[in-house]
């Protein structure tokens, strides 16, 4: 069964460092998303991406965040200068069709900022 894969599964970084989280969406999917879940809290939408550009972003997705689809298969989330409060599980998701497509989530990347 096709799946969304994410790497790394866990990353520990120092405050102020740059982090890149990687995702490989399901191959024929067109819509890509990043979500965040701080420990013990609900899942929050960060950004959606379609046709090589951001289509929607939340208030959380400030200038420290960026997304990219560099090579037609990977979909990355970059945090430029990490803060303690960026510690969370980050989930990538993809869907194939805006109107009929179900959303599929990856296993998540746990980011710990020290």
């Amino acid at each position: 069964e096709p799946e969304v894969t994410q790497t790394p599964s866990h990353q520990v970084t120092q405050m102020g460092q740059e982090v890149i989280l990687r995702c490989v969406p399901i191959s024929n999917h067109l819509y890509f998303y990043w979500y965040r879940q701080i420990l013990g809290q609900k899942v929050e939408f960060l950004v959606s991406f379609y046709n090589n550009e951001i289509s929607e972003k939340s208030e959380i997705f400030d200038d420290q965040f960026s997304v990219e689809r560099p090579d037609g298969s990977n979909f990355t989330l970059k945090i430029r200068s990490t803060k303690l409060e960026d510690s969370a599980m980050y989930f990538c998701a993809s869907s194939g069709d805006r109107y009929a497509g179900e959303l599929f989530f990856g296993e998540g990347s746990r980011l710990t900022v020290l």
Binding site: V43, F45, S55, E56, F105, G108
Partner: protein
């Protein structure tokens, strides 16, 4: 802005009992999801509900959707310990079909 409320936030129940988790949302949506999450794990999709009156069942879990009332329920029948997890509902919103999640219900089934 769409708001999604779940209740209860925490549910402790005994094996063999029935209970219902409720998910209310504030504006019209085309699709509602129920997910299960074990501690430290990803989101496991349980149900996708598309239309008014939709009912889906899988094992001891049954989900329903009332779009007029903007309410979905997840009913647990004869709970077993293996069902212990956090359950989230999530509602599609906006032009990009992003999901707005509820606060989650932590279900603890006691033997």
């Amino acid at each position: 802005e769409l708001k999604v409320e779940q209740n209860p936030l925490f549910l402790s129940m005994q094996e063999g009992k029935n209970y219902t988790i409720y998910c209310n949302y504030s504006t019209t949506s085309d699709r509602l999801y129920w997910y299960r999450q074990d501690p430290g794990k990803s989101l496991e999709s349980l149900f996708v509900l598309l239309s008014n009156g939709a009912v889906k069942q899988e094992g001891r879990l049954m989900a329903s959707l009332d779009t007029k009332a903007r309410l979905s329920t997840l009913h647990i029948t004869a709970a077993v310990h293996d069902l212990s997890a956090t359950y989230f509902c999530a509602v599609e919103s906006g032009a990009t079909n992003k999901l707005i999640f509820g606060t989650g219900t932590l279900l603890a089934v006691q033997p």
